[in-house]
Amino acid sequence: MRKPYPNPFLAEALWNELEQYREPLCYDLAGRCFQLVMDNGVTYALQFVSGEMLAWGERGGALRWDAYECLKLDDETYFVNWEVTGVQPRTCITLALDLRADLITAVHAKIGAIAKYPYLVTQEIIFGAIKQPGKPLNPMRHGYTADLAGRNIFWRYSSNFGITHAFVSEHYLRVPIGQPPELPFDATEEERAERDAEFAQRKAHLFEIPAFFIKLREDVYFFGFIEETECCMDPTLCGNSLIMVADMNRVHDIGRCFASDYRNHYAPQNFLFSAFGAFHDTPDPIDTMPSPYRIF
């Protein structure tokens, strides 16, 4: 875990560097029930029993309980995430719940589904609609988009961590080489050396990963990526998955990280975060760098 930015109220870091700015968890959905008609042919019941527990299952089957977490992008857009209890391989379900259009997009993700890459996340995106009483199902769906292709956003996750996402196309994301990250004024020589080594690594090794971009409505996007490239080259690394729903007018996103921590004995991770961003068009060597991994 990166050293926290000096905070006189924290003796030690309570969160990792992605989590600090997370908004309070949202309990708005407690008590609400939804019927989700998904394009995989399955209809689900989803009952938010409380602010922390939900019951869900296929139509006609038994409901099962799981603990969930929710963040709210706006009054009509909720981001819901839970890990299915007691299931192997680890399974995570993430929903973009769009109550304006009564649409839903779900991501069904697993870690360990491929034996050769035990820490790689694999995921399936499923579109669907929310059945509301007395109303026909919305025949529309959230859809893939190229709106963000070619754009760069610098996201701040915490007092001392930010990163640029360069959406180089509608299918790939890169991290610019940029400048070495700033360190707190009291950073030690060891921390500076670690930062310099990471920066040298970044210059030598293009970070490029597959991504998906889905538009929910004007200004609101659901996107994510899996850190797949490095994991496939070195299976001892983790192919973690980050998924976000973002308001691109405010340049603000909320999301989740479904992961294993290779720096900590592959400990399971599944947490929510918030990030606050700024578009920029600062040129970077990655803008024109050919991909060493893919033909595109």
Partner: protein, 304 residues
């Protein structure tokens, strides 16, 4: 861009949204919460009659004192933490304009109420006067909590640089137990500034000769470990420049995550009532700002 080099009126670069970014102090604001809908809160504030509040939905509430008919108000609520609520509403039938802010800690059951009045001081009609009441939530068959939120100096001597949008940062210097200063900043008018931004910039220029450092009265209230409520009232600026300032900013600070939500109450530049949530993300400022070495108080009452 940093807190001490501010570009006034700089447009926020946004190549994706068809509309200009919202900007100001609301861009990074979290959405209001609807989770109070259906809840009832019986508040006992020290020295005042109890009040029963019924949250009808996410934006409407009714309140009444014992034996009185319920009155209907429009409210907004935001969260400082999972169970810590900042609730605000105007009293629709009250004159002069009166604003209620409640901080309700649903874990400790403690409640603090800030009652703010606009225009109570006839000589300074823009100035907000506020009074703090401490109390607790009454739960069925349980005694009222004995503890109270209380004034604190925990923040004094510290400083936080707040970021409100991609272009703007401001440093709050918690300089003393009864006042706050803003970190020193050079302000430059952006080349593409619009008319409103030019007026805003001119207001800064008007202040600088007679108001060299932003220093305003403050009180700091501790809510629980790492959580604070503090008030900043633009009293000095309003007395120096009667057509400016006077507003009150109440900030619910999560010092652990270094985030805040707050509310502004007062007059906008166009004369309408401002009653808005604002919010920011921050980092503690490690080094003293030059305003911290200035004498205190900068603004003697006799001078203004």
């Amino acid at each position: 861009m940093s807190y001490n080099h501010r570009m006034i009126g700089q447009k926020i670069f946004n190549p994706v949204s068809p509309n200009p970014s919202i900007g100001g102090m609301k861009q990074y604001l979290e959405p209001p919460t609807n989770e109070l809908a259906g809840k009832t809160l019986e508040v006992h504030l020290d020295g005042l009659p109890p009040v029963l509040i019924r949250f009808l939905d996410g934006t409407n509430l009714q309140w009444a004192k014992p034996g009185e008919a319920f009155r209907w108000e429009q409210y907004e609520a935001a969260k400082g933490d999972e169970n810590l609520y900042l609730i605000k509403f105007l009293l629709a039938e009250r004159s002069p304009v009166t604003h209620v802010t409640l901080v309700w800690d649903a874990v400790t059951t403690l409640v603090t109420c800030v009652l703010a009045v606009l225009g109570a001081d006839g000589a300074h009609p823009r100035l907000v006067e506020s009074t703090v009441y401490y109390g607790a939530q009454k739960l069925p068959r349980q005694p009222l909590a004995a503890g109270r939120h209380g004034l604190t100096d925990d923040l004094v001597g510290k400083r936080i640089i707040w970021r409100y949008n991609p272009n703007d940062e401001i440093m709050h210097v918690y300089h003393g137990s009864d006042h706050l200063r803003l970190g020193d900043s050079d302000k430059v008018l952006a080349p593409d500034a619009d008319e409103e931004a030019r007026k805003h910039y001119q207001a800064f220029l008007d202040r600088e000769g007679i108001y060299p450092c932003y220093e305003e009265p403050t009180y700091y209230i501790k809510l629980r470990e790492g959580f604070y409520l503090y008030s900043v009232t633009e009293r000095n600026i309003n007395r120096v420049l009667p057509n400016q300032g006077g507003n009150q900013l109440l900030i619910l600070l999560n010092a652990l995550r270094v985030r805040y939500i707050g509310r502004v109450f007062g007059y906008r530049g166009d004369g309408s009532i401002e009653n808005d949530f604002i919010g920011g993300i921050g980092r503690f400022g490690p080094q003293p700002d030059k305003v911290e070495s200035l004498q205190y108080p900068i603004y003697e009452q006799s001078e203004i």
